[in-house]
Symmetry: C2
Subunit: 140 residues, 2 copies
């Protein structure tokens, strides 16, 4: 079954597929996860606001040209209503700025007839290493 | 009537009140616009993920200590469902990085029994001056 026809039953499943596609540099799978609507928005770290499939596809094509991104999102924070879900995740450390930094991503999903799809992806750079995930710390 | 009791009938009204409070450095009015839920999230430009009223209030108190921010949001891009609304706005130019740059903000609102409230505010810095708003350009 082509990636386009996949049906994701939860925002978490769509998010897992999104980061999997990024890791595999699979542009087709990646773009198939967005809502079928030209109002979708993407803001890359330090980048401008991009609106619509054409602009967003072009940006990811350039990013993935040299291979996958190896992002392992963690510390999911979720708020949701019946029809939408807002995830804020730590995308891990980055060396992009020359100093210790990490990435914070807001991912908004909407429930569509074809399952949960991405409507917004907004990432920014934060100072210092990725914060410790206290929820999974081993205390003993 | 104290700001706390205000009822905002649309996400746009809440957003206008939010930027008005920022411009007036009115911390109480600002915090009253957020959802009554400790799952609220705020990411300032170049900052880490903040969760909950205490952390978010503390950050705004520090930012507003020296006065209002003089932000005039423009180029609203909105996607919404019955219970939530996602706004992406250009917050205008910034000199924070020493080079021409502008700010991009994602603001997520939820419909609550007390009206539309902020559940997420995520801002990042983008290169170059604020893009021209083509929707309001005068062509002749």
């Amino acid at each position: 079954m082509p990636a386009k026809k996949a049906h994701y039953g939860s925002a978490a499943e769509t998010e897992a597929a999104f980061y999997d596609a990024l890791n595999r540099a699979d542009l087709e799978a990646l773009m198939a996860l967005w809502a079928d609507d030209d109002e979708i928005v993407c803001v890359h770290p330090g980048g401008p606001r991009l609106i619509g499939h054409a602009a967003i596809r072009k940006s990811w094509a350039a990013i993935l040209e040299h291979g996958g991104l190896h992002i392992l999102p963690s510390q999911l924070h979720e708020t949701h209503t019946l029809m939408s879900s807002v995830h804020v995740v730590i995308e891990g450390s980055t060396a992009a700025t020359g100093e210790p930094a990490h990435l914070v991503a807001t991912n908004v999903y909407a429930k569509t007839p074809r399952g949960w799809r991405i409507v917004l992806h907004h990432v920014s750079i934060a100072p210092g290493p990725a914060p410790v995930d206290t929820s999974t710390q081993i205390l003993h």
